[in-house]
Symmetry: C2
Subunit: 285 residues, 2 copies
């Protein structure tokens, strides 16, 4: 792993890793600087204000815009393609695309809950090859490149029984998804909701928790799970979708997934299967 490894071998680095692709590194550094400035200069209400509808159809907060604009400025010297929350798809005719969430956990970031991340994956000719997630509140980072040995190592857990699982918050208006959510609570040993998908994916890759899932609400956009695909696979884990859809590069930002990140392929498969079965029973019941 790049950057300076922290003592204790906990799997994260500190700061932007030196091995990262220069466009990825430039984007991450710009995000860290812009996040610090934004949270220093603005109060919560200002950061949380909805200032636009993003390219993905969801509302965009001012903090998202501030960080994304800084990233785009930094990337003007790196003509890769960009797929990101607010701006959408920017085709610069490159073989490389950065799939990026400038501020994962925007609601946390705006409110002052110190759990938000810059997160991006590099796709080369459509295949995810490298990823970097940086915890904006501390500068800790998780980086991996496909084919390069990584110090990241999941827990290796194979079964949901006894697992520690992070979930997106439940959506009580969606009865079938709520049934799926609760089924995981019944089977897992421990459940967390940190409200920051990319950081929760990184914690699976690091071996701090066993799995993370969107419990069949189809909330995940590609930018919420792309980095976890690379990080989890480099660490021995796997990413699935509850409904079996491939997590793949697509410039259509309205596509959604119910992403599942597992410490092993077996756990990712079981968790996706449990969620889908409970969702379908809830929908038909």
């Amino acid at each position: 792993m790049g950057g300076v490894s922290e003592p204790g071998g906990r799997g994260w680095g500190v700061g932007v890793p030196v091995e990262a692709h220069r466009a990825l590194a430039a984007a991450a550094s710009a995000a860290l600087d812009a996040y610090t400035t934004a949270t220093t200069e603005h109060d919560r209400a200002t950061l949380a204000a909805v200032v636009a509808d993003g390219a993905d159809g969801t509302p965009t907060m001012r903090i998202d815009v501030l960080v994304e604009d800084a990233i785009l400025t930094a990337l003007s010297r790196h003509p890769v393609n960009i797929l990101t929350e607010e701006t959408g798809w920017v085709d610069n005719g490159s073989a490389l695309t950065l799939v990026m969430d400038p501020v994962d956990g925007s609601a946390n970031a705006a409110a002052g809950v110190p759990l938000s991340a810059f997160s991006a994956a590099v796709a080369e000719d459509g295949v995810f090859t490298e990823a970097l997630t940086v915890w904006l509140d501390t500068g800790r980072s998780w980086w991996a490149r496909a084919g390069v040995p990584s110090p990241l190592r999941t827990t290796g857990r194979r079964a949901l029984a006894g697992a520690a699982v992070s979930l997106l918050r439940p959506h009580p208006a969606n009865a079938a998804a709520s049934a799926a959510w609760w089924e995981v609570v019944r089977r897992a040993a421990r459940v967390r909701i940190l409200s920051t998908s990319c950081l929760e994916g990184a914690l699976v890759a690091q071996g701090a928790t066993d799995a993370f899932a969107d419990a069949a609400t189809d909330t995940h956009r590609l930018v919420d799970i792309a980095a976890s695909v690379v990080l989890a696979e480099a660490a021995g884990g796997a990413v699935r979708d509850v409904f079996g859809r491939a997590v793949e590069l697509d410039t259509d930002l309205t596509r959604r997934w119910s992403g599942v990140v597992g410490a092993s392929p077996e756990l990712a498969d079981e968790l996706a299967s449990v969620l889908r079965t409970a969702y379908e029973a809830g929908r038909d019941g």
Copy 2:
């Protein structure tokens, strides 16, 4: 607030505040050092190993023991009374008692989820007068003393509808408590589970979230909520118990509460009432 205030007025300090009572400061400094050493020198399995039954009747992990032992050594020069998780009640004949959780969020700390805290309240002749919570992974701190103006300020929110609420994880085997848990999900705008009560209480005092609750599972020991009483009240909030019990100094560590920390007395009352009503309906239904 003590320590160095971070830019942006987010309400936390950095490190152990200079205004803190010297016993409290000594305990916090020892906890920070011991936590860093423990997580540097030991792997997850070692830190998570259950090495004793604590004085409160719950299992104690090695990380709890390592940090608590370091604190007790540091406090040998400060003869206050101590009430803490593993050792229990130590009567040194002082008018002051430190009610202390050496590592709040032990499961997070042992696993490598970077959300755990040292947290303690000072009781003078039985009344909580000062509190300090320190996020062990970053050194950020929240401190308050009763009667001393504090920069901590809650959101001030008065109603559960639209609120952001942190909850202890649900206990699916307890049907009545699960009904209470889900009722909060239905009414709140956002739910988080960070698995670290003292840090979640501090985030309410800081105004990053509106409330935190144990949804009628009677999991909270005094050490889990004592600091939040002082921090929340200094910031305009309030602490309640779902079943109306006073949150008060008691050397009996087997006592339990279902603590509720609210951004305002009105919100704390409403949340406690909603939880109790849903719990009783679930129990009798």
